[in-house]
Point group: C2
Amino acid sequence: MDQQSVTMSDVARAAGVSVTTVSYVLSGKRAVAPDKREAVQKAVAELGFRLNTVAQSLRTKRSRTVALIVPDIANPFYAQLARGLQDAMRPERYHVVVCNTNADRAEELLYLDDVVRRRLDGVVITPQWLAPEDFDAVRAAGIPVVVSSDTGPGSLDLVRADSHEAVDQAVAHLARQGHERLGMLAGPAGAPAGDPRLELYRAAAGRHGLDLPAGLIVRGKHTREAGAEGLRRLMSRKKPPTAIACVNDRTAVGALEAAEQLGLAIPSDLALIGHDDIEIASLVRPRLSTIRYPAYEAGSTCGRLLLERIAGRAGRSEVALRTRLVLRETT
Amino acid sequence: MDQQSVTMSDVARAAGVSVTTVSYVLSGKRAVAPDKREAVQKAVAELGFRLNTVAQSLRTKRSRTVALIVPDIANPFYAQLARGLQDAMRPERYHVVVCNTNADRAEELLYLDDVVRRRLDGVVITPQWLAPEDFDAVRAAGIPVVVSSDTGPGSLDLVRADSHEAVDQAVAHLARQGHERLGMLAGPAGAPAGDPRLELYRAAAGRHGLDLPAGLIVRGKHTREAGAEGLRRLMSRKKPPTAIACVNDRTAVGALEAAEQLGLAIPSDLALIGHDDIEIASLVRPRLSTIRYPAYEAGSTCGRLLLERIAGRAGRSEVALRTRLVLRETT
């Protein structure tokens, strides 16, 4: 018999159960008594029945696919986050499509629109330029969204780093070492969510008596190239900093390379501290001091929140993952 | 008007064109005269028409989604490959779902089955344990497959590294430096496709008069942990090697760390050479000598072959990307 012509009714007849029971077994949506389940599975195998999931998707309006929208999957932080998300969605048989925005607003909007058009089941997103109203269409379509970022549009589920304590400890450490002028390689200027890591450093510098003047804050992308360029700019200032905090490890690694090219000794001429503790942080030399934010755990937490939402949770969830200062050789 | 109730006919009426023309504009399948295209786009915007892509998918049997099936997206090589593939598929509006197999045969089979059940439009896969007949169902379903690996089931499209020349140069370089005993951290034993990189080193060692005895070949996963463990095993041999070739950079970086822990001086006590030239290869110290295989380019090439297949190309394609020896500080 042609596979496509075998129907659920055929399976139900062969298994001696109702079509509803067949549907439950195939969708996994409800528990079915073991003997009935086995009978269905046997009939499915014998008849060569294949569920038409596209047709099923149309009926249930479910694609069993979620989107991960991030700046760049080739950035190891997002690759780890993706893996955490995928591992969390896997037991529920959700596929994860990965979309790269290059931190470009037009791309962010385009992928959100795509999610609605394709009726995907959910979104995990690290937005750079999106305002709360940019999520209106996704929300109107009833598609759950989880934001992975330090801050996000207030109404959406959020998984974020809580670096308050770790940044305070980092700055206290720098103060004890006699640093007075702190510089920062911060994120891009003008992001709707602001720059929470910069704000944390600003506040901690104040508490510990370090100077973090506006002239020593360089804004840029979260890339190695931006880190290298930013370091060169900071070190060409009339009064350069003796320590630089970086928005993430990629920026810090770029800064480290540029410092090496300038002949600076790390950490005696200049201290550097990153954020995230991606794999390369402990592989570069000198080993990078950083603030550990576990990307894999962030991704799996996003997956957990998304699954809860898909299952019907109504209230907003926010999970703050506590980060931790890791002192290595650059401070 | 409710978006869902707007039909293509409404759009066609408002734009003063045929439904077929609307369909062409929306699908991008055929060129449409600029004035008609603009009229359709204007009508779509005014009426708030939204193409129901799930329903469309049912009619066209196309999901406009392809799968990338790799051991682990958190491995930077595959993250780069994914990015290359996504960038290639992007202009044709294909989504890429990323599936991690952990180089496990059961997972590889499960995801291939999933691709058939979901009627995805194509697959790019780096298989570890699959035999040619494992692709029968995907093939029977008419779903194009591109293999990204050094070798693959003969009948499928293949994008591979051509490291013949680079491995020869690497071994010649080691021979000139006076090395006589070469070890190898190879891939897992028993893979259906064999271990082409090991074979290349074996042949080159023969040509250049180096010894690569069976006792100095350690098999393992392509991970840092396996590399570290393999190095310890090799260096505990009665006659340890003076140079070790590694199946990839992750293995080499693990070996480098283990060598450091054993107090070995690199490269004077032991030379190490990797494969791929992922980002960390040039960030570790000493910088890793390696054979450059551009993952991004491999991914975008897979995307190009897949799009050709989807567009109807019948003949098999194989693209061998020439690799290149990069001598740094570990040789």
